[in-house]
Symmetry: C2
Subunit: 291 residues, 2 copies
Amino acid sequence: MAKNLLRGAAIELIKSAEMMQARSDKTRITGGKIAFVPTMGFLHEGHLSLMRKGRNLCDELIVSIFVNPTQFAPGEDLDSYPRSLERDLELCEKNGVNAVYEPPDGQLYPDGFQTYLTLDDLPHHLCGLQRPIHFRGVATVVAKLFNIVKPHWAIFGEKDFQQVQVIKRMAKDLNYDIEILTGPTVREADGLAMSSRNAYLNDRQRKDAVCVHKSLLNAQEQVNSGERDAQKILEQAVEFIKSFDGTDIDYIKICNPETLEDVEAIEGPVLMALAVKFDKTRLIDNMTIGV
Amino acid sequence: MAKNLLRGAAIELIKSAEMMQARSDKTRITGGKIAFVPTMGFLHEGHLSLMRKGRNLCDELIVSIFVNPTQFAPGEDLDSYPRSLERDLELCEKNGVNAVYEPPDGQLYPDGFQTYLTLDDLPHHLCGLQRPIHFRGVATVVAKLFNIVKPHWAIFGEKDFQQVQVIKRMAKDLNYDIEILTGPTVREADGLAMSSRNAYLNDRQRKDAVCVHKSLLNAQEQVNSGERDAQKILEQAVEFIKSFDGTDIDYIKICNPETLEDVEAIEGPVLMALAVKFDKTRLIDNMTIGV
């Protein structure tokens, strides 16, 4: 693998699951270690930070680009989800990615497909409340990608906190021999969490969107000032976000970071997480807050 | 690996998932190929025939012994399922098995376990009608065992025809890089399909149990005589089995071998499958019949 890098080999674009598996087998049989960053493309600095984390660990860095239909419900933004394959490949190459797996539509869900991963508890919180099939789709496609890419490490962004918990649980429950790593949320200068969906925002919405992150900072300040009542903190956050025209709160919660169950009193580190719609654009953010 | 066999190395009993994974990694990194026969133990000639099939393919033959609780509903025979580890290990050693993975109770379903594999269609037929959670448990444990044993081939008995279809579909849907192979049903001299559950039968039941297989042979004879109406064949089979005292038919079906959906007219190879209870002992059998 190191030889490959020294040669400055061009990044490889792989379309076939079987070819991806064969490449990973070849890496593994020579003792090479594989790090994997699954993405839906339209890459931003958040993705790139995960790639750099992987690059430092591994001999072979693999990125997948796939807008996974099974995690979108009818009426969600599957069709409009932003795409930019050429730019994504350039960014991958610049960040030391060895190969990109980008399956064509239909390859991962052929006729007769019928097997899904379902989790009993974790999906029934936060984003799962409004998106009941979302985490079934996430867990299923990630299991598929694990079997296709065969990595030693898989790296996910903490912005999608619930997704990380679902994947850690799924990987443990199904005995995947893969270490799940995370990277911190990367933010714009004004604090907005980077997201491919930020591209949907108009200028006014982009400016207002900072309220999502600001509500988390406010909450930590309240805790610092001695507030321990989660309900009171949430009420203030709701009021704050509603003060921005055209915002629609999907959920806002203070919860146990492991179980995602609501907490009433803040007595240690807890997760505060929220989803806010700006017209049709749904943004999420989260932060560990606490004493 | 071959060296290992020449040395006549004793069979290894592995209790830990991590040690099993490490052993398989070691096999794979030296180019060794792994065949895997998952079992619930209390081995009989049916299991042994699958082991011999695997032995002929691989460098490393792994058997698992685990009575999987998630495929038993409350009131089924989880607690009484027959066990004989010492004898099983002897049989494995005699049949060229390199290692047996036998996890202790609780290892595969620790506290907080919540991830299951569910299939949309295949479980809603045949055995799944009376055992609605059975195939969820089977698909889940087999996925876990695939991730623990990391085989190139996994081998299942055709006596559990629906299980084979579920596992083939699951492995394809989740992109497991594992070839699913099957071995034919092995029968006692009188035609009774071998099963660990045959141990539950008393002498009278054991004698009568041949009616299960006989009903399949009768059906093929009717087809040979020109009968094409599945309903008529099934009616005769029901009448035949009911003529044995104390039998209770769970289901008896003639169906499409791929989808397991009922067929009306026999115009090619079809699956005939049935489950019959002798008091509390439930026996299954199946045969491809047709013109």
